[in-house]
C-alpha cells in the first residue's frame, strides 16, 4: 500500500515536473527572441 502511494506521488511528480520544465522552456525560448 505504501509503495503504491509512493509510486502515485512519484508518478504525479513525473507528469507535473516535466510540464513545469516545459513552461520554463517556453520562457527561455521567448527571451532568446527578445535578445
Amino acid at each position: 500500500m505504501i509503495s503504491h502511494f509512493l509510486g502515485d506521488v512519484l508518478a504525479v511528480i513525473g507528469i507535473v515536473g516535466p510540464t513545469l520544465a516545459t513552461l520554463i522552456l517556453i520562457e527561455v525560448v521567448d527571451r532568446l527572441k527578445e535578445k
Binding site: 509510486g7 502515485d8 512519484l10 508518478a11 516535466p18
Partner: protein
C-alpha cells in the same frame, strides 16, 4: 510474384495519394474556417465544446499563449488517464474484474497516449478495463492527434501570415480537428472494419471448446498468487490439460480506427494489428495501411492550400514519398531474401524463414501473419515507422537484420517521412528551413523560405527540434546498456542491443512500435521511457511554435532572381539529402553496433 508485389505497392501509393488530395483540400477549408459539407454535424458539436468549456473561439493567440494551451490540455489529459488507470478496479465497464494498473506502467501509458506515442508496456486485453480503453486511451488518441494537427496549423499560419502577432486559436484548431476531421473519418473507417469482422461489443470474453484437449506446463503459484520457484530458482510447474479457450472481446473497432487515423498505434490487444480481431482480412489490412498515412499525406496538400502555393505542398509530399520508397524497397527485398544461412543450405529447405520456393510459396514468413505475407508486412512496417504510428501487423524483432534496420532508421530520422498527424509535417518543414539555410550558406545569400528570412533565432529553434530526439535516443540507450537495465533484453549480443536501441528510438521519437524481445515493463524503461516520450513531444512543440511566431511577425520578401525556389526537383533533392545526412551522421555508429553487425555475422 515480384510483379505482383510491385503492383500492390504501386496500388497502395496510387490510392493513398488519390485520397490525400481531396482530404487535404477539405482540411484546409476546416482550418481556414470556411464552410464544409460536414458543418451541419460538426458545427453544433464544435459550439457545444466551446459552450461546455467556456471558450471564446474568436480570440486569437500568440505563440506563447498557443504553447501554454497545448501544455494545459495535455498535462490535464495525462493526469486524467493516470487516475483512470489506477482506479479502474473500482470503476464500471470492467467485465474481467481487472485491478488498478501499477504506478510505473500507468505513468508510462499516460504519457505515452497523451504524447501520441502509444508505446505499450502492457498487454491491452489483460491489463486495461473497457472504461480505461475507451475513456482514457481512445479519448487521448483523438486529443493527441488533434494537438499535432493544431500545432501544424499554427506553423502554416506563421509561414502564410505577414507581420502578424497571432497564430490562431489552439482550442478552435484542436476542436475542429476532432469534430470535422478525425470524428467523421473514424466513423466511416469503423463501419468498414466492422464489416470485415472487427468486434465492437461490451462483452468481455467468450469461451470456446477446443477441438482436442491441449496438455501444457502450468506454473505453480503460492497463496499470494506469485509463481513458486525451486532451489535452483527455476519456476515450478505442473502438468495441466486445457479443454476450453477464453477469447477476449471488447469495443475494438472504435479504438482501431482512431489508432490508425491519428497515427497513435496503441492496440486493443497485445499483438496489435497482427491480432485477427484488430485486423481480420487482407482488405482490413489495406484499409488500415491507408489510414496510417492518409492524414499525414493529406496535410501536405493542406499546407500547399493554406500558403496559397500548391507547388510547395507537392514538393514536401514528393520528398516524403521518395524517402518512403527509399526505405520500403530495401526492407521488402531483405524480407523476401530471408535468412542467408538457410538460403545457403539449398532451395528445398522447409524452414519458415527461407525465401520463396515451390515448397514455401509464401517465402520468408518468420514473424509474419499468413493472411498478410511478406509484402503487406513490409509495407506496414515501413509505413508505421515512417508515420509515428507504431502499430504492427508483424513482429519486427523477427525481421532479418536489414529488414529491421530500415524501420529503425525511419524512426531515427525524426518521424518526418509522413510522420505523425501534424507532427510529421511540422518536423519536415523544420528540415525545409534547415535545407534553405544550407543552400543559403552555399551561395552566400540570406536564406528565405516562402518569402520569410531565416535568421539566427529561426535556426536555433530548428536546431532544438532536430537535436532533442537523437539526444534522448542515444542517451537512453547508452544508460540502459551501461547499467543493469540491459538484462531486460531477450537476445544476447547485437540483436539485444538492437532491442534497446529500437525501444528508445521508438519512445524518443513518439513512434510507439515495439521490437519485442525486451521486457519493457522494467522500471528503467517505464520511467526513463516516459520522460523521453514527454520531452520528445513537448520540447519539440515549443520551439516549433516559437519558430511559427517568429516567422509570422516577419515581412514577406518578394521573390528575386537569387531566391532559391522551394518547389523545384532540385529543392526536393536537397531536402531529402538533408534529412538523410542528419539521420545518418547521428545514428550510423549506433546502427553499426546493432543490425549492421548482426547482418554481417549472419552473412559469414
Amino acid at each position: 510474384m515480384i510483379t505482383s508485389e510491385y503492383t500492390r505497392v504501386i496500388l497502395y501509393f496510387v490510392v493513398l495519394l488519390s485520397l490525400a488530395w481531396p482530404l487535404g483540400c477539405y482540411m484546409a477549408r476546416v482550418y481556414e474556417g470556411r464552410p464544409v459539407f460536414w458543418d451541419h454535424v460538426g458545427r453544433p458539436l464544435e459550439r457545444l465544446v466551446y459552450w461546455c468549456c467556456g471558450l471564446r473561439p474568436e480570440l486569437e493567440m500568440g505563440w506563447k499563449g498557443y504553447a501554454l494551451s497545448v501544455m494545459a490540455v495535455n498535462a490535464l489529459g495525462m493526469l486524467v488517464v493516470y487516475a483512470l488507470e489506477r482506479l479502474q478496479g473500482v470503476l464500471p465497464l470492467n467485465p474481467l474484474g481487472l485491478g488498478g494498473v501499477p504506478p510505473g506502467v500507468a505513468l508510462n501509458t499516460a504519457i505515452s497516449f497523451a504524447s501520441n506515442t502509444n508505446w505499450q508496456a502492457y498487454g491491452g486485453e489483460s491489463t486495461m478495463s473497457f472504461a480505461t480503453q475507451m475513456l482514457a486511451l481512445t479519448v487521448q488518441n483523438f486529443l493527441s492527434a488533434a494537438t499535432g494537427m493544431a500545432v501544424l496549423a499554427a506553423l502554416i499560419r506563421g509561414l502564410a501570415r505577414r507581420e502578424a502577432q497571432h497564430l490562431g486559436n489552439f482550442w478552435v484548431d484542436c476542436t475542429r480537428s476532432v469534430t470535422h476531421i478525425l470524428l467523421p473519418l473514424s466513423l466511416l473507417l469503423a463501419l468498414l472494419l466492422v464489416s470485415q469482422g472487427v468486434p465492437q461489443t461490451f462483452r468481455g470474453s467468450m469461451t470456446a471448446r477446443l477441438l482436442e484437449p491441449v496438455t501444457f506446463a502450468k506454473p505453480v503459484t503460492d497463496a499470494s498468487g506469485q509463481p513458486t520457484v525451486d532451489a535452483d530458482g527455476k519456476p515450478v510447474t505442473e502438468s495441466a490439460v486445457a479443454t476450453d479457450q477464453t477469447i477476449a472481446l471488447g469495443p475494438v473497432a472504435s479504438q482501431e480506427t482512431i489508432k490508425q487515423l491519428g497515427t497513435n498505434g496503441g492496440g486493443f490487444f497485445n499483438v496489435n494489428s497482427a491480432h485477427p480481431f484488430e485486423n481480420p482480412t487482407p482488405f482490413s489490412n489495406f484499409l488500415e495501411m491507408l489510414a496510417i498515412l492518409l492524414i499525414p499525406a493529406a496535410l501536405c496538400v493542406t499546407f500547399g492550400r493554406m500558403v496559397r502555393d500548391m507547388r510547395q505542398g507537392v514538393a514536401v509530399l514528393a520528398a516524403m514519398t521518395i524517402l518512403f520508397a527509399l526505405f520500403l524497397f530495401p526492407c521488402l527485398t531483405a524480407e523476401r531474401a530471408g535468412n542467408p544461412r538457410l538460403t545457403a543450405l539449398g532451395g528445398d529447405t522447409t524452414a519458415v524463414d527461407t525465401p520463396q520456393h515451390a515448397a514455401r510459396p509464401g517465402g520468408n514468413m518468420e514473424g509474419k501473419e499468413v493472411r498478410f505475407g511478406v509484402v503487406d508486412s513490409a509495407i506496414w512496417a515501413t509505413a508505421t515507422t515512417a508515420a509515428s504510428n507504431g502499430s504492427v501487423n508483424s513482429m519486427h524483432d523477427s525481421f532479418t537484420p536489414l529488414g529491421g534496420l530500415f524501420p529503425l532508421l525511419l524512426m531515427q530520422l525524426g518521424e518526418v517521412v509522413f510522420g505523425g498527424v501534424g507532427s510529421g509535417l511540422y518536423g519536415m518543414l523544420v528540415f525545409a528551413v534547415v535545407a534553405v539555410f544550407v543552400a543559403g550558406l552555399m551561395v552566400g545569400r540570406t536564406p528565405e523560405y516562402l518569402g520569410k528570412k531565416i535568421e539566427a533565432y529561426e535556426m536555433k529553434m530548428a536546431a532544438l527540434v532536430i537535436l532533442i530526439p537523437p539526444f534522448l535516443v542515444l542517451c537512453g540507450t547508452a544508460v540502459a546498456v551501461a547499467t543493469g537495465a540491459r538484462t531486460a533484453i531477450g537476445n544476447p549480443g547485437a540483436h539485444g542491443f538492437s532491442e534497446i536501441l529500437y525501444a528508445f528510438s521508438s519512445m524518443g521519437n513518439n513512434n510507439g512500435s515495439a521490437f519485442a524481445g525486451l521486457a519493457a515493463d522494467r522500471p528503467y524503461y517505464a520511467w526513463a521511457g516516459g520522460l523521453a516520450m514527454l520531452v520528445a513531444r513537448y520540447w519539440l512543440i515549443v520551439p516549433t511554435l516559437a519558430l511559427a511566431g517568429s516567422l509570422a511577425g516577419k515581412k514577406s520578401i518578394p521573390t528575386g532572381a537569387g531566391t532559391l525556389s522551394t518547389h523545384t526537383p532540385l529543392f526536393v533533392g536537397l531536402l531529402v539529402a538533408v534529412v538523410l545526412t542528419v539521420g545518418a551522421l547521428t545514428f550510423i555508429p549506433a546502427l553499426a553496433l546493432g543490425p549492421v553487425v548482426e547482418h554481417l555475422m549472419l552473412s559469414q
